[in-house]
Symmetry: C2
Subunit: 290 residues, 2 copies
């Protein structure tokens, strides 16, 4: 049993350096794919804009997503207001190495009272999330994820997003290459066959399904980027939460870390970094006018 896409039949997984985390920093994750995966309700504030950050809300969200409960008291952070008005210095888009779920890393800097008095013209006011048009998203059926056979491509989706088939061939078929969020390539046979005729992805599909551990109810989405590359993203259905950082940090440290980092930044007006998971409860970075 070989779950890696580097296996014979599947697409070639490029050799990974020791730390995938580091390598990911170096290449830019496709913004349209990120937004397509995040969904139409998610928008990222623009760099330079002012945002409201709620440390307590964020802490609760992390707590919920890791299924951890507090074991002891949380220290009080008298310097930590319920909400911080911050300037957004940096946003980078990421995808979890295990699950392909998208998240963003943001560098925030709390604004001093003086800076808050400064006039502020928001450069772009709430730039709505630009959902790409040249894409399709399909929720996987039991047949799509079964071991017998491949993926049934909705007709309009195939016609809109996949390169046109050569219908002089019998049957019409081609090889598709698609890059996932980490830049790994996956190879699929795209064929138009059956009675009645329909578009299917066959060879390569089941390797993708098992490598990404997709099940019926999860969604896949295909999209073309500006660089004429086919991209492939995932939206996982909600399911029993994974319990992530066991054996590394106690839940106390996790909570306190988040609050302490914000408190320290607030008292020194220095930058701090948060992870924004668009899939959690409504996150509390909001656009605001200074």
């Amino acid at each position: 049993m070989n779950l890696s896409p580097s296996a014979a039949a599947g697409g070639g997984l490029p050799d990974q350096p020791a730390s995938p985390e580091v390598s990911e920093e170096h290449k830019c994750l496709n913004s349209e794919l990120w937004h397509a995966c995040a969904g139409p309700l998610v928008s990222l504030p623009a760099v330079g804009s002012r945002v409201l950050y709620f440390p307590q809300g964020h802490s609760e969200q992390v707590s919920a997503s890791t299924n951890k409960e507090m074991e002891s008291q949380i220290p009080n952070y008298p310097n930590l207001p319920a909400q911080l008005i911050c300037q957004l210095h940096n946003v980078t888009m990421h995808a979890d190495a295990e699950t392909d779920e998208v998240y963003a890393q943001m560098t925030l800097q709390p604004l001093s009272p003086q800076e808050l008095k400064d006039p502020f013209l928001p450069a772009e006011l709430g730039n709505a999330s630009k959902q790409p048009t040249n894409y399709f998203c399909k929720t996987l059926t039991a047949s799509d994820t079964s071991t017998h056979g491949g993926f049934s491509v909705p007709r309009r989706a195939a016609e809109k997003v996949f390169p046109p088939l050569d219908f002089t061939q019998q049957p019409p078929a081609q090889e598709l290459m698609a890059k996932d969020l980490h830049g790994n390539e996956w190879k699929f046979r795209h064929i138009f066959r059956g009675q009645p005729k329909r578009h299917l992805l066959t060879t390569g599909w089941s390797i993708f399904i098992s490598a990404k551990r997709l099940v019926a109810g999860d969604s896949v989405l295909f999209i073309w980027n500006d660089n004429n590359q086919l991209l492939l993203g995932i939206r996982r259905a909600n399911r029993s939460q994974t319990v992530m950082p066991s054996s590394v940090l106690s839940s106390d440290s996790m909570h306190i870390g988040l609050l302490a980092a914000a408190a320290h930044a607030a008292s020194t007006n220095s930058r701090f970094t948060i992870f924004y998971n668009p899939k959690s409860k409504p996150f509390r970075v909001c656009h605001t006018i200074g």
Copy 2:
């Protein structure tokens, strides 16, 4: 492809409640299995004893184990000494849900100067880790982990640890049930066959190997507990580190959380919780005499 042990051929995986983390708290992980997995160099301090805790060392260790680098400055914790003399209030043994690697959760309380003056008689001084005798540990070979065939049991190990076979049968064989660190049961066919004769685990073995994602170089260990149950633990070979808590906490928060929790506890003499991973660099909870 079904990787769960609840599948037809394998042992029955008991129904899991929504949160495995919580359920694990309720049952007591077998101490001998924990120590066998942790190895002979690891010993846990006794509850009530005094220990030295090095927050900075712990922080660096977590940093190394998660492959995360700091993105911004760490605040200074003026109240946080380089080492804290603490009383150990609680120790619980755990195993990572993903990897089965053992770790311990400890509740520490920094001692006040007054308490430090109190006479202190260590109840048990450095109780050496009690390695069980009725156990064996084998490093898996390429054959043990290949898809063709099962697990070759070293002869003495099988005779010492497995129930004796009925040699009047031809071939002698029995069914073994073994519980892993999470209490899940795995079923194996134990047979004595071949030319020359040897002990083998066949049916059920490959399901275990793929479910636990074991590879050649990893080790398995079998042990009997007081309750007459066969237990099954894992020691993984060192390999490229997993990058654990991505998309949950920034590395900054992780560092700061650990230090801030210790600093807060130190200044208030309140209890705090740490995770002790015996596999990392020598950890810095040391026995000490008050």
